[in-house]
């Protein structure tokens, strides 16, 4: 199958006051179209850095990143980011926040009624039709996160990059959003890279789990292929021996193989 996103020998060095700091080295990853990738690793290992590189928000100091056959030189509409802290504009309503994105991508070709319809559809997809006219400070954290997801989805990106999108949510909301996300991915066939701290989330959602070693100079330690049939159901999977094995594999990577570095990295 054709590789859609390619990360080739990428290294990232930050110039700090104390001299250069190597965050990432020799990162090699090829992502297929429609694949769901989870990035997991201890805090500070460089997951956000890698995601920002794919988003084009930062440029690598070594190596090259390619998306759809073209080098990633900056942010592009085909790669959309759901930020860790949702990053909604507080002076715009939920509707306007999404509309801003829709207008940017489709504004040149489509009229206002069509753009509004797209915005409404995106908000309906995450179940927020009733909150369209509310401002971000008037809705809950989970709702904000969903608006952020709606904004990214409304642009119909080929690649969806999510930095711990459900990190700050309670377990119930998180489970609901995970289910919604799986449905959306099935429906749209989007390629997803998702940073997470949550082992269950990684196994439940992804096709491959990319496990990163501890920083500094982090790289990809192992890649685990999750071959569970879709659609996946969290209740059924809870007792599935394969699911339990995958889970154990990730846990062992995090807490046995990478555990002793933890203090050093912090």
């Amino acid at each position: 199958m054709k590789k859609f996103v390619q990360v080739e020998d990428v290294g990232m060095r930050f110039d700090t006051k104390k001299g250069p700091f190597v965050a990432l080295r020799d990162v090699d990853l090829a992502i297929e179209k429609g694949e769901f990738i989870a990035l997991i690793g201890h805090s500070g290992c460089g997951k956000s850095t890698l995601l920002n590189l794919i988003a084009g928000l930062t440029v690598p100091t070594d190596g090259v990143l390619i998306c759809d056959g073209r080098e990633i030189a900056g942010p592009g509409p085909e790669r959309e980011v759901v930020f860790q802290n949702h990053s909604l504009l507080p002076w715009l309503t939920c509707f306007e926040n999404v509309y801003l994105a829709v207008e940017r991508v489709f504004g040149a070709k489509e009229g206002k009624p069509k753009l509004k319809l797209r915005t409404q559809e995106a908000l309906a997809l995450v179940g927020l039709t009733h909150a369209e006219q509310k401002y971000p400070h008037e809705i809950s954290g989970g709702m904000k996160q969903r608006v952020g997801i709606a904004r990214a989805l409304s642009m119909q990106p080929k690649v969806l990059l999510m930095d711990e999108p459900f990190g700050a949510l309670d377990a119930l909301t998180r489970a609901r959003l995970q289910d919604e996300l799986m449905k959306i991915c099935d429906a749209t066939g989007a390629t997803v890279v998702m940073v997470t701290h949550d082992v269950d989330e990684a196994v439940l959602l992804s096709d491959r789990i990319v496990m990163m070693t501890n920083g500094p100079a982090a790289t990809i330690g192992e890649i685990l292929k999750v071959e569970l049939p879709r659609p996946r159901n969290r209740l059924e999977l809870a007792h599935d021996p394969r699911y339990i094995d995958y889970r154990a594999a990730v846990l062992s990577f995090l807490y046995e193989k990478q555990a002793h570095h933890e203090k050093q990295a912090a």
Binding site: A55, F83, S87, L89, W91, L92, R104, H137
Partner: protein, 321 residues
Amino acid sequence: MSAITFEKALEAGAAAAVAEPAVVAVARSEPAASAASTASVASSAVPVARDGGAPSPKPESRAGEWLRAAARATLPPAIGLAVMIGIWYLATLSAGGSLPGPVQTWEAAVKLFADPFYSNGPNDQGIGWNVLSSLQRVGIGFGIAALIGIPLGFLLGRFATLSSMVNPIISLLRPVSPLAWLPIGLLVFKKADPAATWTIFICSIWPMIMNTAQGVTRVPSDYMNVARVLNLSEWKIFTKILFPAVLPYMLTGIRLSIGTAWLVIVAAEMLTGGVGIGFWVWDEWNNLKVEHIIIAIFVIGIVGLLLEQMLIAIAKRFSYE
């Protein structure tokens, strides 16, 4: 630099600015006591304006609760005011009649405000006209300063090279008392009135430039990342992200500017003459109507307070959190 230290620095600067005419006053061979009265104009306007921000009583369901809350909110300020008037009264007793007491001042005020808008030629006009012409000068000087200062602030915040070019100049000129610019204004405009406006322009432009520029650099990088990821045009970035994010900073700048302008106008008008509250104070001093000077101090304080409250209300209207 945070907005607060900035504000403090400005107040100190403005107070120093207003205190300066004391030197001029002595040069004009007037009693040195005028220096004290000039300084008290400056120092009274600021604390009054600050205290005005006290929260109003919360609505309570039961009448008793409500009354108690109202009393709690109004009683302490009322007592404070009463104590102040009491001290004033005692001070006038011990001063032996040279300083008019509260009763005398009240009577003068009643007479004065019976006809605030009379006009007997340019040098004898009602206190209403004097206040209005001072406000007009502040409005024009401030307006021009806003038209130049706010866009300049945006440019300085957005473009680092420009900012490092202009910042040394600003740092050099900002601490200068605006009154030092008055002779330049007189030289260029050949007339007193635009020279006073020019002084207002100079003193009110700095807070707007600095606060706006600071606001632009303080726009959370998250929002700018959203702009980059959505690939927004420069115009959309300005209208949808930069402007709303900077607005609170801008309004702080405007508030500081108007506050300083109101402090400076009194001093500037003392020097330039014409119609205006500052000149009026000076004129009443020459007429030895000290009770009118005390009334002027209250009027200046109250106008300053109202200006501040108005701008706070506007800022609240535009705060989004």
